[in-house]
Symmetry: C2
Subunit: 341 residues, 2 copies
């Protein structure tokens, strides 16, 4: 568990505990009575890697381990969560809302689970996009959990994006979200992040790569070569291009150190082709980038390289989104005041 602002004991007016609980990470935030982040912690307790011997035990252990001391100090402080914690493999399933959907309506669809210690946790819903398979082309069913709350948080920082925008959220499963007139009208998932991880860890491609890849020493030339090859590639070519992350090392064209960034470039280049080169008619400006700074830098560079410079780059906006939901649901203002010193 890593934490910042360890001086949480100095917080005088706590308003909300916000949980951003994904597949691989659990991020928790202590917000003050105005919604500002007073303290945050992070652990690798995503829903796929919980502690404990059963799922129920795992969710409770992770929850108590991460925010137990905050709740002991301020019993009754409201808790709200988003992400895979609300999936069928989560703590309690929070049914999907169907797109297009009013972003301001999320707070009306919370699901509650109670921890072993008796704390209610309000879980935000995910979004589903139904399949539309027509003779003119196919849009396949897609789902998200957690990113819809980050979109809500981004709109609280950039209200002008509510009219029309494309918001990119890089991650294990990157999401490209199109917003129009206050609604999520469309979105697309890319598996670039998870493909990168499983190919590095479990495929022949990882055999030649260094085990760690610090962002500070990224090989940008190799990244951009992979990016440009994949972005320009003909249909289907990714399945063959991927192997070049091995064969080009064997022929001496890439160093083992470079091959990891080259693979990252291939995958992100493929994602950009899927999102930007289709004649889908959806707006690509303003283009917002929301997520962890290290990964956002990589996407910002990639987007700029193909001529789509982001309008703004925001850090994870989950706390802002969860604060908005809590306010709208009447959770945060009530208890935030109740807990004021």
């Amino acid at each position: 568990m890593t934490s910042t602002a360890d001086s949480w004991t100095a917080v005088e007016h706590p308003g909300l505990i916000a949980l951003d609980w994904g597949t691989t990470r659990l991020r928790v935030f202590l917000l003050d009575h105005q919604g500002a982040v007073a303290a945050q912690r992070e652990a690798p307790w995503g829903i796929q890697q919980l502690p404990g011997t059963s799922a129920a035990e795992g969710f409770n252990q992770a929850f108590e381990g991460m925010v137990g001391d905050w709740l002991a100090r301020w019993p009754g402080l409201p808790v709200i969560a988003s992400g895979m914690v609300g999936s069928a493999q989560g703590w309690r399933e929070a049914p999907y809302l169907t797109c297009p959907i009013e972003i301001a309506s999320f707070h009306r669809h919370l699901t509650t689970v109670t921890s072993l210690s008796g704390t209610p946790i309000h879980i935000a819903p995910g979004l589903v996009l139904p399949s539309q398979i027509t003779s003119a082309g196919s849009v396949l069913a897609d789902v998200m959990r957690g990113e819809e709350i980050q979109v809500l948080g981004a709109l609280s920082i950039k209200p002008e994006w509510a009219t029309q925008s494309c918001i990119v959220l890089p991650g294990t499963h990157s999401k490209w979200v199109w917003v129009e007139a206050g609604k999520v009208t469309h979105f697309m998932t890319s598996m670039a992040g998870e493909l990168f991880a499983v190919l590095r860890q479990h495929s022949i491609l990882g055999r030649l790569m260094p085990t760690a890849m610090p962002a500070d020493s990224a090989h940008w030339a190799a990244f951009e070569e992979g990016l440009s090859l994949a972005y320009a590639a003909a249909p289907g070519m990714l399945i063959s291009l991927l192997f070049s992350a091995r064969s080009r090392v064997l022929t001496g064209e890439l160093s083992p150190d470079e091959s990891s960034d080259y693979l990252s470039g291939l995958l992100i280049g493929c994602e950009l082709a899927a999102a930007l080169k289709q004649p889908h008619g959806r707006a690509l400006t303003p283009l917002g980038l929301v997520g962890a700074p290290e990964l956002s830098r990589r996407y910002e560079r990639a987007l700029g390289w193909v001529g789509h410079r982001p309008t703004a780059v925001l850090d994870n906006t989950a706390p802002q989104g969860l604060w908005k939901v809590a306010l709208s649901a009447g959770l945060a203002s009530q208890l935030g005041q109740a807990h004021a010193a």
Copy 2:
């Protein structure tokens, strides 16, 4: 270890021990003095999953375990091997030959390693295709080990393919090999097989899939839906289509049982698009399919579905290829005769 023809002790005129030693499997063949398979055995001792505590120990243990009794009965019987056993991660590196390359020349480039028990193992070389990056388009460096021997074996069964053919070898890393005037002129690797395995075993997509997928109960409608979606997809779309193997289960459009064949269809459809839809000008007929029957059936169906019915389907031709190499190198005829009863 699985073996057939356990009556190997009845073999009277052994000619060669042939090893088809890949990344995930080791297949060994006892050939008679005319090159026919008299006995064969198979084990999961590919070079990535050897027994023993070190690579050297692993290669020796696997070798002795698989063919030790044959060599005890017929000391001095020649042994020849192909595949990843000759890679940098193999038992002894056998340098690549550069394409275009005469298929009849492979026997002039054998590398030898000697087992702990003193048996020389002659390892066939792999092939490399150098990168050609031009303004007109890119062909990236590619490599193969083992399939070039299967191509040689296929040509010994179908000599007419030597003039001009496209030979498809499905597997962990499928190869599409173009033959012209007795030479391998070009080839392409597809990672469809390894992607299928790592996504099933290590990604979120596998979470909803049954752990075993017997070929006899393949869900062909789901396979063909994945195939057609990927074959028709715009550039880059695979990275997004893959996630539909999860989202369409969550929306009830696919059953968990079907999602595995759907994913297989997506990946093979992508491979077929990469190989068949590019204007590369290489011949696609006659089209030969060479490999394990179960996987070949899947590819035969897929190829037929997109209008490219194979001219012939052959089982693994590694033993025929290794026999040809051994004959040309003067290994098999000599000792085959020496061991005749």
